[in-house]
Symmetry: C2
Subunit: 336 residues, 2 copies
Amino acid sequence: MEAVNRQYRLAARPVGLPKPDDWEYCSHPVPEPGPEEVLVRIDYLSMDPAMRGWMNDGRSYIPPVGIGEVMRSLAAGQVIESNHPALAVGDHVTGLLGVQCYATAHGGAVIKVDPTLASLPVYLGTLGMPGMTAYFGLLDIGRPQEGETVVVSGAAGAVGGVVGQIAKLKGARAVGIAGGAEKCRHVVEDLGFDAAIDYKAEDVASGLARHCPDGIDVYFDNVGGEILDAALAQLARRARVVICGAISQYNATGAMEGPSNYLSLLVNHATMTGFVVSDYGDRYAEGAAEMAGWLASGKLKSREDVAEGLESFPDTLLRLFAGENTGKLVLKVAGD
Amino acid sequence: MEAVNRQYRLAARPVGLPKPDDWEYCSHPVPEPGPEEVLVRIDYLSMDPAMRGWMNDGRSYIPPVGIGEVMRSLAAGQVIESNHPALAVGDHVTGLLGVQCYATAHGGAVIKVDPTLASLPVYLGTLGMPGMTAYFGLLDIGRPQEGETVVVSGAAGAVGGVVGQIAKLKGARAVGIAGGAEKCRHVVEDLGFDAAIDYKAEDVASGLARHCPDGIDVYFDNVGGEILDAALAQLARRARVVICGAISQYNATGAMEGPSNYLSLLVNHATMTGFVVSDYGDRYAEGAAEMAGWLASGKLKSREDVAEGLESFPDTLLRLFAGENTGKLVLKVAGD
């Protein structure tokens, strides 16, 4: 095999937003799969806010990426060599394959997907980690009831867009918070949210007061910071706050900003619960089946934002933190 | 009736700790009870951290005390006139009677208590609002399981001391956080906690690491601020954080300090739930019956800290916020 495996490795732990020097762009021979392993040609890399956390040292739900290691990333691609009985050359798979063009993985560590049912980017988005995050976070923790008001931040992102749509499917009202008129239009017109608040153009507290006259029953937070505080201030009795992420804080270089309105939990007998989607690993099949059904019937819409070229990885990742993507951000690398 | 009714009324909304000028000390004629009302001679006033919140303007779980109104307070006393069929002269009652020597109240708005079973201060403490706060907050929200580790701040206070004892009764380990060697001794030796951390003498994070090697399963928070942050950083998987109060923040004049470590909820799939005891009003009888049984059998110990004289009310209230009380702080006013 003549191809080379281009990769991004973590060269230094970023302070604030990742800088070019934090990466090492290098080429290595395409690896040989070992026993029970497959060799995958990566077609799409998934760009996820969680990647920023994986670059930090310290205890978390998974170990950090080591300095000098290939950057961790979810990805989708095609099996081009297989030493695993359950996977054949030509099969499509997703998994934690890393920011590179080729990856070996144990056959049990990847998930086989059917590209005739949905595109590979959808398997990284609505039918992948972000979709499962929305599904279990909203339904298991948020538990929206018919007629309740669900508010979600990052509403035009891969997770938020699905949260609002599932809320609607369950008979709740969905109010999104997003940055910019086009994202707000997308959320309401394309995804069917009842309303959207453009945090770049209006005061979030005023928008919430206008669109949630009876308070917020479920607040699904992807961003943290001031928007979380604004939502806490307008909780309804027995509200459920789902802490899914805090993208506003991931690149902070000072102290983490805590939600100063947290005593709203006290006066409203409300609850704030955090989770990572891997907590629901044993229920993915259940979530994926229901989500696939909704997608197939048109009840759920999926949107992807596709960037191109492995070499653009550092810049593409920054687009997430600049809030420039609408829908699931993926990086197409096949053919590189 | 020749007696006068001395009262403390709210003269101004405090900024920070209540100052002498925030109160009006005045005398009025002892009121006459109206239809279905009783006249109560107040024996003990209950000093509760929540009183500080009642002095602030703004939406909360109950309306603020109005300027010029008698300061709201729980109290215990004796019926000296009755226009209510269920209450006779000589009966003892508790209720929101206000910071004064005499109060009228609807007969249905006070609770008759039996002073032969427990003293009036106990009815304001372990068998009253603080005890019910500990009981429902710990058992309904914290839900400690046998062998789990329960940490409580304000452990030598009226709520915290009961929380740790109930945790022990349920087979959990109890670790208290309190200020000062004598409070820590009380919590361990008198109340039977497994350990106490003196936040004035040692680093709380180090103390928690030493006494909670497997992390904190239930954290019952009465104080907020840095201690809440230290506890959040050491949660066990699926921990439950009970937000009962934030006495460190009630007199803050700057912005409320939010828990900057709240993303520990995310990585640990943990939950933070707030409540006020009035949320459990329809279950008080259940809680009071079980607590009275534990008290009678000696399984639960109650401690009261009794100050004297209505005129000392402003200073006595400040003792709460200075953390000077051990056990339930009450102010004896009868005979004044």
